[in-house]
Symmetry: C2
């Protein structure tokens, strides 16, 4: 009955390596294309299943983009922080800001709302795209 340990498989390693070298949110299709470019033949189903696994493990952040396309990035949402996203190339950098927490704290009780969390995204241009 007991479950064995998770298997280490090539598709999973390949997918992880794609994510590891891209500092931006990628869709399942983009990851799949990256694998093909690397000559790694992996089905789209496996890409989706692996992404689900990574999300369950808390290793990636999932973000539906403006059109509702779901995108993924290697970044542990475990540690609360925010992102600066380049409008031009999509590069993402973490923004870790105590000042923001302070601000959120001051809003904790707003309009009858009992606030317990927040999400922030900053937009702009990264150093390379300026």
């Amino acid at each position: 009955m007991g479950l064995r340990a998770d298997y280490v498989t090539r598709p999973r390693e390949w997918i992880a390596s794609i994510l590891a070298r891209e500092p931006r949110f990628l869709s399942a299709a983009q990851i799949h294309q990256g694998l093909e470019r690397d000559g790694a033949r992996v089905s789209l189903s496996t890409v989706y299943r692996t992404l689900d696994r990574l999300q369950a493990k808390g290793d990636i952040t999932v973000r539906p983009d403006a059109d509702g396309e779901v995108t993924y990035m290697l970044c542990e949402p475990r540690h609360h922080h925010h992102h600066a996203i380049c409008r031009t190339c999509g590069r993402v950098e973490d923004v870790d800001c105590a000042a923001m927490e302070q601000f959120a704290e001051s809003l904790r009780a707003h309009n009858g709302f009992e606030l317990d969390g927040h999400a922030i995204e900053f937009f702009g241009k990264c150093g390379a795209c300026r």
Copy 2:
């Protein structure tokens, strides 16, 4: 050749009235269900087309939820502000905060990023759900 003025139609009025009385983000399907409950027979296509129109006019805010389902709310994104969203019932209230702008300003140049915008969502429980 010139375009005539936009038509005022019942489907559009019905859809607008659904949106006007719901202070929360609704999916196209939810709006469609609301119309049926009101006895208003409108096709889902028309719901989508009307939402596209409202978005083009800048009358609604469009927000893909965590699963990527696109949702809509009567709220002009023209005036920059943020939202407090009840985790329990979905009720949304506007958060208009100069302090946040100040904070964003101090981050304008972060890690080589030239920041020019930001989006914030606050979560918690509304007065009714406490």
